[in-house]
C-alpha cells in the first residue's frame, strides 16, 4: 500500500441523504399519505392525498446475506419492481412499486427464489437478530442459528396475518441484550459466576474498570498466587456477565450453565397503554445447538395460547394485563417460581398491594 493511499483523509459525510434512494412516488408524496391497506399478507398499499399509490412487498431473508443472495434480491427488484427497496428494522427487505399489477408476479418470483413474503400487519414478523457466535466477541449462543430454527417453525405465522395483533420476537446472545424488548424475547441467561482465568488477568485486564462495571459490587481486586488478579464474591454475583466484555478472563460463558430465558410483553408502542418492558416467564432452557428445539417449543406454546385467547388488537402485554399473570401461567402451563418475583431496584412496584385477585 502506498503511503499516500494509507493516509487518505476521510470525507466525514456522516449520514447520507435518504431522498436520493427513495422511490419517486414516495418523494413526490412525502408527508402526504392518506391511508394504507393490507391487500394480502406481505403486501401494503398506501394511497396519498393526491390519489397516487405505492405498493410494498415485504420479504423475509436469512439476514446474513452473501453477495449471491444480495444480487439475487437486487435482480428481483429490477426485473419485477422499480429498483427501490428499504430494510425494516427487523431486516426484512421491502420492494416498493408504483404499479399494483406487478405485485403478484413479484411475489411469485420472490417465492420461487426461496424467499418468504409476509411479515406485515398481525403476523409474527422476522425475529430481531443479534450477532452470536458468527461475529460477536462475548456471545453465549448463536443468534443466526436460533432465528433460522425458529423461523422454520413460525413460517406460517410470518406468511399469514391472523394473530390478534403484531408479534415482535427478539433474541439476544448475552445479557447486554442487543435484541432489545419484544413481545417475546429469547435471551441468554448465565447461571454460574464467571470462572476467572487468573493467568490472563494480570496481563490483559484493566482491573478498576472491571470492578466498576459490576452492578452488584461483587468483584474485588485480589492477589492470587502472588499476582494481582480479581476475585468474585459468588454469593453476591448475579451472573450477569457484565464483567466479561471489559475483561475476557472473567469467563462467563459455559457450555452447560449458560441457559436461555424467555420474556414476554415488551411493547415499544404507545398505542393504548404506555410502552412496556418484557417480563420473565421461562428459564433454565438448554442452549441447544444446532436447532434449539426446547426454546422453540415454549415460544410456539405462548404464541398458540395468545392466538386462542387474546382479543383483536391486544398485543401480548395487553392480553396478559386483561387476563392477569396467574391465568397466563395457568394457560401456558409454565411454572411460576421464586425467580419470577423481582428483587432488583424498584421491585416493590411489581408486587400486588391490593386484593385484586382473580379466582
Amino acid at each position: 500500500m502506498s503511503q499516500a493511499q494509507a493516509l487518505r483523509p476521510p470525507i466525514e459525510s456522516g449520514c447520507p441523504d435518504g431522498f436520493q434512494y427513495m422511490h419517486p412516488v414516495m418523494r413526490r408524496n412525502f408527508g402526504m399519505w392518506k391511508f394504507h391497506e393490507h391487500t394480502r399478507p406481505g403486501v401494503l398499499r398506501h394511497v396519498s392525498e393526491f390519489g397516487e399509490e405505492i405498493w410494498t412487498v415485504k420479504v423475509g431473508t436469512q439476514r446474513i446475506l452473501d453477495v449471491f443472495t444480495l444480487r439475487k434480491l437486487c435482480d428481483l427488484g429490477d426485473q419485477y419492481a422499480d429498483g427501490y427497496v428499504r430494510f425494516t428494522i427487523r431486516s426484512n427487505i421491502e420492494y416498493m412499486l408504483a404499479d399494483g399489477s406487478k405485485v403478484e408476479p413479484l411475489i411469485k418470483a420472490v417465492e420461487d427464489a426461496g424467499f418468504i413474503v409476509g411479515g406485515t400487519a398481525n403476523s409474527v414478523t422476522m425475529i430481531s437478530h443479534t450477532q452470536g457466535w458468527l461475529h460477536c466477541d462475548i456471545p453465549g449462543t448463536d443468534a443466526s442459528g436460533v432465528v433460522k430454527s425458529m423461523m422454520d417453525e413460525l413460517i406460517d405465522e410470518f406468511r399469514a396475518h391472523d394473530m390478534p395483533n403484531r408479534v415482535h420476537i427478539t433474541t439476544s446472545c448475552c445479557q447486554i441484550n442487543c435484541g432489545g424488548q419484544g413481545d417475546i424475547a429469547i435471551n441468554v441467561q448465565h447461571t454460574k459466576p464467571p470462572k476467572i482465568n487468573h493467568d490472563l488477568v494480570a496481563n490483559v485486564c484493566e482491573r478498576p474498570s472491571v470492578v466498576a462495571r459490576c452492578p452488584v459490587a461483587a468483584i474485588r481486586p485480589a492477589l492470587v498466587n502472588g499476582k494481582p488478579s480479581l476475585e468474585v464474591d459468588e454469593k453476591k454475583c448475579i451472573c450477569c456477565g457484565a464483567c466479561f466484555p471489559p475483561c475476557p478472563p472473567m469467563q462467563i460463558n459455559d457450555a452447560e450453565h449458560s441457559k436461555l430465558s424467555i420474556w414476554v410483553g415488551g411493547n415499544h408502542s404507545n398505542a393504548r397503554g404506555r410502552p412496556t418492558f418484557q417480563k420473565l416467564v421461562a428459564s433454565g432452557i438448554p442452549n441447544n445447538p444446532p436447532r434449539w428445539p426446547e426454546a422453540t417449543a415454549i415460544v410456539k406454546n405462548i404464541l398458540k395460547t395468545y392466538k386462542e385467547d387474546a382479543k383483536d388488537w391486544e398485543r401480548i402485554n395487553d392480553w396478559i394485563e386483561r387476563i392477569g399473570w396467574p391465568a397466563f401461567f395457568e394457560k401456558t402451563g409454565l411454572p411460576f417460581t421464586r425467580y419470577h418475583v423481582d428483587n432488583w431496584r424498584g421491585a416493590r412496584n411489581s408486587l400486588n398491594a391490593s386484593t385484586h385477585i382473580r379466582f
Binding site: 487518505r8 476521510p10 466525514e12 459525510s13 456522516g14 449520514c15 447520507p16 435518504g18 436520493q20 434512494y21 412525502f30 399519505w33 394504507h36 398506501h46 405505492i54 410494498t56 423475509g60 436469512q62 439476514r63 446474513i64 446475506l65 453477495v67 449471491f68 443472495t69 434480491l73 427501490y84 427497496v85 430494510f87 424467499f115 418468504i116 443479534t130 457466535w133 458468527l134 460477536c136 466477541d137 449462543t141 448463536d142 433460522k148 430454527s149 423461523m151 445479557q175 447486554i176 441484550n177 424488548q181 452492578p215 450477569c240 457484565a242 460463558n253 415499544h268 408502542s269 404507545n270 398505542a271 410502552p275 418492558f277 445447538p289 444446532p290 436447532r291 383483536d312 388488537w313 424498584g346
Partner: protein, 421 residues
C-alpha cells in the same frame, strides 16, 4: 479445494427447513465464488462456527483496528482459534451509516456489494441492531481500502464505543400516513451535527438518537435511545365522519365499541347514535390506537411537532430505563426550529459529558442525580407532563419551595404576555 472443506455436521442441520438459510449462503461463497480468498474465508468461518456449535463457546476477541482519522466504526475481531482456521483469523465488521429509513436503490446496493466483494468476506447484513449496515468479515489490511472506496461515493462509518452512535428512523413521512414529522430531516440534522462525536469516541458512554414519526414508535426510540424524537400533534384528531360511517357499515357498531372506543386509554371517544364519532381531544393522549384501527377515518391533526424523551436504554448497568419526557411538544417547521433542536441535543450531550461517570448512560446519570437536577442543568423548567404523578414521599428538603412557586407564576405571566405579543 473441495477436500479441504471443514466438515460441518451441526451447521448442515441449519440448511434444512423452509426459511432461507445463512449457512447455505456462506457455503455458496465457499463453493461458488470465483475468488479464492473469499472461498477460503468462508470455509474457515464455517469451520470456526461449527467449532462454536460443538463446544457452545464463542471464539472471537476484540482488539484495535481503525481507519485513518477515525477512532471508531470498525469492530475488530480476531480469532482465538486462528491456527485451525487461519483464513478467517481477522474478521472485522465495518459499521456503515445508512440513510434514515434504510432506503436504497438496487443500483447502490450493487455498488456496495461490488466494493465489498473486492475486499471483504462477501457477507453483509442490513442492518445490525445498532442501525448500521454491517459488512461482516474483513482483514486488517483491507479495512482501509474498503472504507476509502465506499467513502468516495457517499458512505461513512457509524459509531462504536463511547460516542454518538448511528441513528435510526422509521419509514415515516416517506410512506406512512401516521407520520407527524420529517424523519429524514430530523435524523440527518442531528446525526450530521455530531459527526465528530460519532467518529472520535470521547463521551462517558454511547449516545443514541432515534426518530419515530408518531407515537407507534416503530423504531423503539423510547425504549432504546438516549434521545428519542417522536412525532405528535397538539390540535384535534381529524375525523372524516363519512369514513366513520363507512367503517361502521362494514364492521358494525359493536366492533367499533369493542375495538375502538372502549380501548381508548382515556375513554375520550363517544360513538353517537347516528354513527358519528366524537373525540374529547383535550383528553386524548395521542396513543394512536384509534388511528391505527380506523386509519381512513381518523388522522393526526395539522399542528404537528415532536415530543422528546431522554434516557432510554437496556439493562446494563442499573436495569432497563425508558426515556423520560423532557420536551412535551417541540415545533419543528422552520430552519430556526431545527437549529433549536440541535441546540437542545448539544446542551444535553455537553451536560452529560461533563457530569456522567465513565460508562454511565445519560438515563443512568439522570437516575443518579434526579430529573430535577438534570432539568436545571440543561435549563428546562419542570412540567407536569414529565411525571406520571408528583412526589409521594415527604422526605425531602423543601425550603426553596416558595421561590420556586413564585418563579412558576412569573414564568406563566411572561408566557401569557409573550403569547399576547
Amino acid at each position: 479445494m473441495a477436500n479441504n472443506h471443514h466438515s460441518t455436521p451441526m451447521l448442515d442441520e441449519l440448511e434444512n427447513g423452509p426459511w432461507p438459510s445463512f449457512i447455505s449462503g456462506i457455503k455458496r461463497l465457499r463453493d461458488q465464488h470465483s475468488d479464492g480468498r473469499i472461498q477460503g474465508m468462508a470455509n474457515d468461518l464455517l469451520g470456526q462456527l461449527e467449532h462454536s456449535y460443538e463446544t457452545r463457546k464463542g471464539y472471537w476477541k476484540g482488539g484495535t483496528v481503525s481507519v485513518f482519522g477515525y477512532g471508531s466504526g470498525i469492530i475488530p475481531r480476531f480469532s482465538e482459534v486462528a491456527k485451525s482456521f487461519p483464513e478467517s483469523k481477522e474478521f472485522h465488521t465495518v459499521r456503515v451509516q445508512p440513510p434514515a429509513g434504510n432506503f436504497y436503490t438496487t443500483a447502490i446496493l450493487r455498488q456496495l456489494t461490488d466494493s465489498w466483494e473486492k475486499y471483504g468476506s462477501g457477507l453483509i447484513t442490513f442492518h445490525g441492531q445498532t442501525g448500521n449496515a454491517m459488512f461482516i468479515g474483513v482483514n486488517t489490511e483491507n479495512t482501509q481500502a474498503f472504507f476509502d472506496e465506499i467513502n468516495e461515493y457517499g458512505f461513512d462509518l457509524g459509531g462504536a464505543g463511547p460516542c454518538v452512535r448511528t441513528g435510526m428512523s422509521c419509514v415515516g413521512a416517506a410512506r406512512c400516513e401516521q407520520s407527524c414529522t420529517n424523519e429524514q430531516r430530523v435524523h440527518r440534522t442531528l446525526m450530521n451535527r455530531f459527526t465528530d462525536d460519532v467518529h472520535r469516541p470521547s463521551l462517558p458512554y454511547k449516545f443514541k438518537f432515534k426518530v419515530s414519526g408518531c407515537p407507534n414508535d416503530c423504531v423503539n426510540a423510547i425504549e432504546r435511545s438516549d434521545f428519542a424524537v417522536i412525532g405528535t400533534w397538539r390540535d384535534e384528531i381529524k375525523v372524516d365522519q363519512a369514513e366513520v360511517k363507512a367503517f361502521i357499515a362494514k364492521k358494525g357498531r359493536d366492533y367499533v365499541i369493542d375495538n375502538v372506543t372502549t380501548r381508548c386509554p382515556t375513554g375520550c371517544m363517544t360513538l353517537n347514535a347516528d354513527d358519528t364519532l366524537d373525540i374529547d381531544n383535550k383528553n386524548c393522549v395521542r396513543c394512536m390506537h384509534c388511528l391505527n384501527v380506523m386509519n381512513k377515518a381518523l388522522s393526526p391533526g395539522d399542528d404537528k411537532g415532536v415530543s422528546i424523551l431522554v434516557g432510554g436504554k437496556r439493562t446494563l448497568k442499573i436495569g432497563d430505563l425508558m426515556g423520560t419526557v423532557i420536551v412535551p411538544f417541540f415545533k419543528l417547521d422552520t430552519d430556526q426550529d431545527y437549529k433549536d433542536l440541535v441546540t437542545l441535543a448539544e446542551t444535553i450531550i455537553e451536560f452529560w459529558a461533563e457530569n456522567g461517570l465513565e460508562h454511565e448512560r445519560c438515563g443512568e446519570m439522570i437516575e443518579r442525580i434526579g430529573l430535577a437536577n438534570f432539568l436545571e442543568g440543561i435549563g428546562i423548567e419542570p412540567d407536569p407532563n414529565m411525571v406520571i404523578h408528583p412526589r409521594q414521599s415527604s422526605y425531602v428538603r423543601m425550603d426553596g419551595f416558595e421561590d420556586a412557586a413564585e418563579q412558576f407564576y412569573r414564568r406563566k405571566m411572561e408566557e401569557k404576555q409573550a403569547a399576547a405579543g
